[in-house]
């Protein structure tokens, strides 16, 4: 889900200049989950996909979306992975539950015709069958591989009707932080 957001932002910076569809070549999403007993763990995936293009309606906006395959999230512990996907994200519950999608992305402070800059973004995150607005900082930088985009945003789990993550006295707090980094060409 974090990936989706980041991707959108990057896309905006690049696409405005080229007016051509833009695709994510690779990226990483890290969801930082603070635990109720202290400490955090990361849930990570590199399964990002999607494309974006400048919107004809209003210049800073991007059409298209970025999608994260939630089935590939890995916390480093099998039992934790199992609970994350089956009990909380409920990836088998129905169509779309196995994905997080970021769409309707808008950029602020990042020049659409530049491949470098810092600003913020807003977008619609679809997760667990619920669509909510998310926002956060974004940084775009040109590298030898293309344009690298870093973005982050918080996700408040109760807003997405995700059950309170608790297992045998240990749980995850209500708000997790999504960090996304991706490369576009």
């Amino acid at each position: 889900m974090g990936v989706g957001i980041s991707l959108v932002l990057v896309t905006g910076a690049v696409l405005s200049a080229t007016a051509a569809p833009w695709r994510v070549t690779r990226g990483d999403v890290s969801v930082k989950c603070p635990m109720t007993i202290g400490g955090t763990f990361d849930a990570k995936t590199s399964a990002l996909s999607g494309s974006l293009s400048p919107s004809a309606a209003h210049a800073p906006a991007l059409d298209g979306s970025i999608t994260v395959d939630l089935r590939t999230l890995d916390t480093g512990i099998g039992l934790r992975n199992e609970h994350l996907k089956e009990n909380y994200l409920e990836v088998d519950k129905g169509e779309g539950y196995d994905k997080a999608v970021l769409s309707d992305i808008d950029l602020k402070g990042v020049h659409a015709d530049s491949s470098e800059g810092k600003g913020s973004f807003t977008g619609l995150l679809t997760l667990h069958g619920v669509k909510k607005t998310v926002s956060g900082p974004i940084e775009v930088r040109k590298t030898g591989e293309g344009v690298r985009v870093k973005a982050s945003f918080p996700v408040h789990l109760p807003e997405y009707n995700i059950a309170e993550p608790r297992y045998l006295g240990v749980g995850v707090k209500d708000t997790v932080q999504v960090d996304v980094t991706f490369i576009t060409q």
Partner: protein
């Protein structure tokens, strides 16, 4: 002053166990084995689990400073994620922390639900020890410990107690070791932890300091006063602030001194701060102050530690401390311990640990160095096997000893 020195030397030898016995190699044959039995390892907290993104002891242990009874979550994790044979086992359902079954339960659930919210664990370690020293070696079989531990946890409150058997030659009464085994309760305390991060604990426990390596003979434990019998009676307050954890302990003295050796009773305080830099990296800063007693001068230590996991199967912890007052006669020394642990295959952890304690320039105190290798095989939650090899080198007197310790750890 002379009495002070005599008693302090005795204490020094007792605390430093094998390493001081190296210094006293003329007496090594009759003294070395019992000394090592007293200080041999009792595995407890495992800092290597930072490799699994667990930076806090309380994920798996009731005690905020780690070690001792596993929580239901800790038992489930041990079964499903650590044991060589538990990967396909059915995990307990959420909300069943007070209704454990099978491998998750005390005595494999033989008592059914008779215990209610009370969680029990019976820990025993039949062990074999072989010590090689200049001129020979000695073998001994012994029961390292036998402890019954219980805990109840409800609504942020925890009551915790353990009762066990202190090995022969281990109990100290009025400064003298007793040949008989004795009853001991290493820890008993009550604690409250708020959802907001504030915690308070009172009773008998090991103060928070540095990294609690599972081997309590690690130099940063045995030489800084955090050995097996160094719990205090005291009050601990803690505060979790985002990625930081601050723990402060105030105490009128070591528990064993208060109970059995009043001449060594003295106020102490300790503080520990931990910052989780990432889920797989943490830094720790610690300080401890111990006021003088009738027999010991005031002392203290300050140190830092850094741990990280470069991969999900490797952890590296390094702790360095300045011991501002060697126990007996004053002076400053340095203590450093590194522990690198690798999960070679599921359920098999290999550890390597170089350790150092400088002499502090005080006559009679040796610079000592250790290389420790350990293999921990974890077939099941209720039993595992540990094999540790210690090579101890007294740099001041150029003497070596080697120690092989084999343990069957029963956690019923």
């Amino acid at each position: 002053m002379k009495q002070h020195e005599i008693v302090s030397r005795a204490t020094e030898a007792r605390r430093h166990g094998v390493l001081q016995s190296i210094f006293l190699r003329a007496f090594v044959s009759p003294w070395l084995v019992p000394a090592f039995v007293l200080v041999a390892s009792i595995a407890s907290a495992e800092p290597m689990f930072i490799a699994k993104q667990y930076t806090r002891c309380t994920a798996c242990h009731y005690s905020p400073t780690g070690g001792g009874l596993l929580t239901p979550y800790g038992r489930a994790l041990s079964h499903r994620e650590l044991s060589t044979t538990g990967a396909s086992a059915t995990a307990p359902a959420a909300g069943t922390e007070d209704d454990p079954h099978g491998e998750q339960a005390f005595l494999f659930g033989a008592l059914g639900d008779a215990l209610g919210p009370l969680h029990l664990g019976l820990e025993m370690r039949p062990s074999h020890l072989r010590i090689g020293f200049p001129g020979g070696h000695q073998d001994v079989n012994f029961l390292m410990n036998m402890d019954l531990i219980g805990a109840v946890q409800k609504g942020g409150w925890t009551a915790y107690a353990m009762a066990g058997r202190e090995p022969t030659n281990a109990p100290i009464r009025n400064g003298r070791p007793q040949p008989e085994a004795a009853f001991i309760s290493y820890e008993h305390w009550a604690a409250y932890q708020s959802d907001g991060g504030f915690g308070i604990r009172a009773g008998r426990f090991l103060p928070a300091y540095g990294v609690r390596f599972s081997d309590h003979t690690a130099y940063t434990r045995s030489y800084l006063g955090f050995d097996r019998n160094d719990q205090v009676y005291g009050l601990e307050v803690s505060e979790t602030m985002g990625p930081s954890l601050l723990q402060v302990t105030l105490s009128p003295g070591r528990a064993e001194a208060i109970l059995h050796d009043p001449a060594r009773r003295g106020f102490s305080m300790a503080g520990r701060w931990q910052l989780d830099v990432t889920p797989r990296a943490a830094i720790v800063g610690s300080a401890v102050y111990r006021h003088s007693t009738d027999l010991d001068p005031k002392s203290g230590a300050i140190g830092g530690a850094f741990g990280f996991a470069p991969t999900p199967r490797v952890s590296v912890w390094t702790e360095v401390d300045a011991n501002l007052q060697t126990d007996a006669r004053g002076g400053h020394s340095w203590v450093a311990v590194n522990e690198t642990a690798v999960e070679a295959v599921r359920g098999l952890w290999l550890k390597f640990s170089p350790q150092l304690r400088t002499s502090g320039g005080v006559p009679g105190f040796s610079e000592i160095r250790r290389l420790m290798f350990e293999a921990d095989l974890l077939p099941r939650t209720h039993w595992n096997i540990g094999v540790s090899y210690y090579h101890d080198h007294n740099h001041t007197f150029e003497t070596n000893t080697s120690t092989l310790l084999t343990q069957l750890h029963l956690y019923l």
